[in-house]
């Protein structure tokens, strides 16, 4: 098993873990978005979706444990990489200037990441770890987004998700070695498109609800 630990522990191995967990989260977000779109169908549609989800029972628990593991891997590896990368240049440059390679997504990756951890905790506290015996999920959402600061935090978070994904998605492809002359331009466009889909898809929901559109 030494080889396995050595491989994953290498710089490329760590990046591989980031890439695979990151891609998984992109998949999760797509599923999550698909589910959330039922909000546009109104209270009943959304509650039905929630109920359907909960009827999965033990499967759902497995999924949750899976997501938690992915998150732990993504977060811990990410923080470790961040620390290593910070340490690798002990004396910083007095003048910093980009040659044009960096993007807003790539520059802010660790910071958007840390923000998103906080947001996810906040999000789970809001919607997951709440007592749902007296109320439905739709009502919780409805109440939450009638509060303006909540709405703004959610919209901001979705913009940040988009920024994170805009770099993360194509970057994951690069990391696993899938950088091909013919396909990479498509992957890069897809990263931006998906980022926008997340930003608009998720970001518009609080507005829709808050303003009862």
């Amino acid at each position: 098993m030494n080889w396995f630990i050595n491989s994953l522990g290498s710089s490329i191995g760590k990046k591989l873990m980031m890439a695979i967990t990151g891609l998984s989260f992109c998949g999760f977000l797509m599923a999550h978005l698909a589910g959330n779109l039922t909000l546009y169908g109104g209270r009943d549609a959304f509650n039905a979706y929630a109920e359907h989800l909960h009827s999965l029972g033990i499967l759902l628990n497995f999924a949750e444990i899976g997501l938690l593991s992915l998150a732990l891997i993504h977060i811990l590896t990410g923080l470790y990489l961040f620390w290593q990368n910070f340490r690798s240049r002990p004396v910083r440059y007095a003048v910093n200037k980009s040659a044009g390679g960096r993007t807003i997504g790539s520059v802010t990756m660790p910071y958007t990441g840390v923000f998103l951890i906080c947001f996810v905790v906040f999000h789970l506290l809001n919607f997951h770890f709440v007592d749902k015996t007296q109320t439905t999920i739709y009502d919780i959402v409805d109440t939450a987004f009638s509060n303006l600061p909540y709405t703004l935090i959610y919209i901001l978070a979705m913009v940040i998700v988009a920024i994170h994904v805009s770099h993360g998605l194509w970057s994951a492809f690069q990391t696993i070695g899938a950088n091909h002359l013919k396909y990479m331009p498509f992957v890069q466009v897809a990263s931006i498109v998906l980022a926008l889909v997340f930003a608009i898809g998720f970001g518009f929901l609080p507005i829709y609800i808050a303003f009862n559109l």
Binding site: N2, W3, N6, S7, S10, S11, I12, G13, K14, K15, L16, L81, Q84, N85, R87, S88, R89, P90, V91, R92, Y93, A94, V95, N96, K97, S98, A99, G100, G101, R102, S106, V107, M109, H167, W170, S171, Q174, T175, I176, G177, A178, N179, H180, L181, M184
Partner: protein
Amino acid sequence: MTQTINVTLKIWRQNGPKEKGRFETFNAENISTDMSFLEMLDVVNEQLTRNGKIPIAFDHDCREGICGTCGAVINGRPHGPEKATTLCQLHMRKFKNGDTIAIEPFRAMAFRVIRDLVIDRSPLDEIIQAGGYISANTGGAPDANAIPIPQQTAETAMDAAACIGCGACVASCPNASAMLFTGAKISQLALLPQGRPEAAERAISMVRRMDRLGFGNCSNERECEAECPKEISITHIARMNREFLKASFFSSVK
């Protein structure tokens, strides 16, 4: 047209690896715009020498952009502001009269500052020692045309092989990562049929050595590719990643 300009230089001075460094300011006057950047430093050094001061130490050799010896960070850009250019090929016509130019050494934990702008890049040699070669002892080679190599493959290998080992990729990387340097060599040798027998061993060994030497990790910022004086593409990093993952999980090399 040839003109002369005056510029202010803020140059990093550091007496030794363990000493504390600081910026010193110099005025470079009557600098011809036809001078190369290093010739401008020569002029400053001649003046310093005549005035009984210690000249600025900087590495340089071929002064035609191929040996990879020179390099400093000019206003935040390794090898200066011009694309695909080493410091020795950068000319003063890229600057304006009255400019202030900050000159710092390539910085990374793996690159110790020896003095002023002179750094120790031997970690790059160590990465090559870990497998940046084909184990073909002199004498045993088959006829050069025994194995045809598609032209496109040879050209792509040449793109990677153009690396001059200057270290600008490390210097420009926000994480001081040596992935472009390492990737270029692994990619070149992985592309060629002669390099295949050792490909798995090479990828694993070189990547592990690179990690041990204290370089940072790649976060796909693409600064290396943008600064590389030989414009080596990060597709070579992707090929290295592929080779490394293939070798780690699907080869018998441990």
